[in-house]
């Protein structure tokens, strides 16, 4: 599995020389319809590097209606920057992580991609209200289905080693690997789930990663294919019982039928 995931991640990775430094492209699709990328600039006289976006992330969100002047969104944005040790330059509109040692660059770059994905989630903060109905419904069904045999934590991380990759729900069953569940409301969520899965494998942290979709076509075909091939990816609508039963089985090791 690790090799398959490494292949999936690395196949789409590109590195180009540009006048500013190195331009890195990933296979993760951003909300503007282009793959997410970032730049590595350095080393400076102290041997330190800078990781930064192309300066488009925040202006695109703002031009699309996600106003960072709105208090709740601004707080979310500031919290994310603090969590990832990143800064935002209001003049250049660049997001960056500064003073990175060469030895830490690859891990820091992966964290930076996670930050970019999570910032793009902010565009869906208004849409999430409309989507909250099925998310609440599915969470309730899951709580009922687990029958108290596992604990559900909302907006949590699997372990301290994976604190940069939080999930919508973390389900902890007794003597079982924790289950990180993402609600597949956008491609970004799928990529966050893939990033968690890949990082967990790399760090040998036990966890299962689930993306629960409302409908089969809730995300693009490419994102759906990646989820199907690399994650546990049930579809809720039209198969609510089976979808929840699958997650319960992963979290507890028991089928729902066996628990009745």
């Amino acid at each position: 599995m690790k090799e398959e995931l490494c292949k999936a991640f690395c196949t789409d990775l590109t590195v180009r020389d540009v006048p500013a430094g190195l331009a890195v492209g990933t296979g993760f699709m951003g909300v503007a319809g282009d793959q997410i990328g970032f730049y590595l600039v350095g080393p400076d006289s102290l041997g330190l590097w800078r990781i930064l976006d192309d300066g488009n992330t925040v202006p695109y969100l703002e031009a699309s209606g996600a106003d960072l002047g709105v208090q709740t969104r601004k707080e979310t944005f500031d919290d994310l920057l603090e969590e990832y040790g990143a800064t935002y330059d209001d003049d250049s509109t660049e997001l960056s992580v500064d003073n990175v040692k060469r030895a830490d660059l690859a891990a820091a770059a992966m964290k930076f991609v996670a930050l970019l994905l999570r910032i793009q989630d902010m565009l869906f903060m208004t849409r999430e209200r409309a989507e909250s109905t099925w998310v609440e419904e599915a969470t309730r069904d899951l709580t009922v289905g687990l029958q108290g045999r596992a604990r559900i934590e909302e907006n949590a991380h699997v372990s301290s080693a994976l604190s940069d990759y939080p999930a919508d729900l973390v389900i902890r069953g007794e003597n079982r690997a924790p289950v990180a569940l993402f609600f597949g409301v956008s491609d970004v969520k799928v990529y966050e789930a893939l990033l968690l899965r890949f990082t967990a494998l790399r760090k040998a942290e036990p966890c299962e990663v689930v993306v629960l979709f409302e409908k089969y076509n809730s995300v693009t075909r490419k994102a759906r294919q990646r989820a199907d091939n690399n994650l546990i990816a049930p579809t809720y609508r039209g198969g609510e019982h089976e979808a929840i039963a699958r997650i319960v089985e992963v979290a507890t090791g028991q089928s729902q039928a066996a628990m009745h």
Binding site: T14, R16, V18, P19, A20, A23, V24, G25, V31, A32, G33, D34, Q35, G37, F38, Y39, D54, G55, N56, V58, P59, Y60, E62, A63, S64, G65, D67, G69, D89, D91, S92, T93, E94, L123
Partner: protein
């Protein structure tokens, strides 16, 4: 009228614009979704071209960041106080390929604003004519302006043929 019709129509450039830094004035490229704020382009130089086709008014906003090898030329139609974005010719240093985001919809059916939804698709040139060398950039401000003029036929001459380099 969709974006191909606009490109192929006879145009009258009313303002060629100049290269600038900083925020893009709302009059140059209005976007109601960004509230009262001007569109911020941060680390890029920008130039806005205004033109008309018949009675309708259009804009092309050119963004350029040479050190990052980023180019974007966005064609939009003025709809009231807002902009219906029809097409955007782009190059990103992080991926190194020329491509265009576009919608084949009539301007009347395009949601106003910058956000790219399901109505926008992305295409790459199947057979790259110059300057679409796929991995090349090498564009400065005069080059970026010339490419925009050529591609969107702002001077009413055809440099890229009827397929606009991207097929039908």
């Amino acid at each position: 009228m969709n974006w191909r019709d606009v490109v192929q129509s006879q145009k009258h450039v009313t303002e060629a614009g100049t290269w600038q830094s900083g925020k893009v004035a709302r009059a140059a490229f209005p976007l109601s979704k960004s509230g009262n704020k001007a569109y911020r382009v941060g680390n890029k130089r920008w130039r806005a071209v205004r033109f008309t086709v018949g009675a309708l008014e259009y804009r092309v906003l050119i963004l350029l960041n040479e050190p990052f090898e980023q180019f974007q030329a966005t064609l939009g139609a003025i709809v009231g106080n807002d902009m219906a974005v029809m097409a955007s010719l782009e190059f990103h240093g992080t991926h190194g390929d020329w491509h265009i985001h576009h919608t084949e919809e009539d301007v009347a059916k395009i949601p106003a604003g910058f956000k790219r939804g399901s109505w926008i698709r992305k295409d790459e040139p199947p057979t790259p004519p110059p300057p679409f060398t796929r991995t090349g950039f090498g564009i400065d401000e005069p080059g970026a302006y010339k490419l925009t003029v050529d591609y969107f036929r702002l001077d009413n001459t055809s440099q890229f043929g009827d397929t606009l380099g991207f097929g039908q």
